[in-house]
Symmetry: C2
Subunit: 207 residues, 2 copies
């Protein structure tokens, strides 16, 4: 039986370490593909087209929108950001599990189009730890930290819409946990209907 | 946060190797408890009360039924078989995952009372392999094998009611797979409502 890839939606508090987690997961285990976003913002020094982002001109991005070529998109600070559909579907078709790191509203839009997607929310052990991590970055102003804490409080309202939560208190442990959840998802009965139907037909033929 | 145990319902085709699988799982990994059935049938040589079964007199069993002391029960060949509630609930309360190996009708009754229970169905890779395993036991008559195959065909109709399937083509691999599914279930958002609520309250207090 051909293994079909699962679309994995990973959200979480800003500061919970989603980015590092996802990067480590893809490095440590085979069979994953990371979805790459498209954006109209200018590449920063060191960024490469097709690695950090697909860098598109505004017209190109809007054509993609018109062609339904994006699973979801949003506009921040006058720039578009979105998830190209073609790449995701090619990877799934090839049997790879595609990781989509995305905020809560985007996650909701993706889940509507891919009801079979697996949704995961990354948390810190508690609110204090979240504040501590944001502060210890040393790069954010007090004002930005307050905004992020407020955003986390708002995002926390939507956690139950996710199927799984992981607590990122130990990166290695958390990576293994996420991998385990995804592997287990491949055993879900609703993802193996074809296999179940086959054995059913065989058993009918046998008796 | 106190880890609460999960009730795990394992069913599967007779001949798929459920018994060995469950035994191996409990041996290999910590944190599991095996539910022990009660029965009114006579102990066979070598069987011990409280190990293979709780051996009860008919009146004792019927008193348990009357007191709602059994999660489910059924009558085969003039003997009662059932699952004592107290043992299961004590183990769950102690944070152990309780394994209940049970056929499809019993599983349905348990799931109605414990909607949070995790349901798993053990299969062979195909129907041919199932027949091969039943035949190679060498202990069953052709008639019994036919009956088991017919029963499997009937049971196959109910597989989608289970959340997960595992294919037992390699015992070690299958044991690990089952363990992984159970561990992943502990991360389900609906099993961590208290934790989510706590962080939510903390975040509200922080901002």
């Amino acid at each position: 039986m051909k293994r079909k890839g699962i679309l994995i939606i990973i959200s979480g508090f800003s500061g919970a370490g989603k980015g590092t987690l996802v990067k480590k997961l893809v490095e440590k285990y085979d069979g994953y593909a990371l979805s790459i976003s498209a954006t109209t913002r200018e590449p920063r020094p060191g960024e490469e087209d097709g690695r950090e982002y697909f860098f598109l001109k505004k017209e190109e991005f809007e054509r993609k929108i018109a062609e339904n070529g994006l699973i979801e998109y949003a506009c921040y600070c006058d720039n578009y950001y979105g998830t190209p559909r073609a790449y995701v579907e090619e990877q799934l078709e090839d049997g790879r599990d595609v990781i989509l790191e995305i905020e809560i509203q985007g996650a909701h839009k993706v889940k509507q189009q891919y009801p079979d997607a697996l949704t995961l929310f990354v948390m810190t052990p508690d609110a204090e730890e979240l504040r501590y991590r944001l502060e210890s970055r040393g790069t954010e102003t007090a004002e930005v930290i307050e905004k992020r804490m407020q955003r986390a409080a708002k995002e926390a309202m939507g956690i139950e819409k996710y199927e799984y939560i992981v607590v990122n208190d130990n990166l290695e442990k958390c990576v293994d946990e996420v991998h385990r959840i995804i592997m287990a998802a491949h055993n879900a009965a609703h993802r193996n209907i074809e296999f179940i139907d086959n054995i059913r037909k065989e058993l009918e033929g046998e008796v």
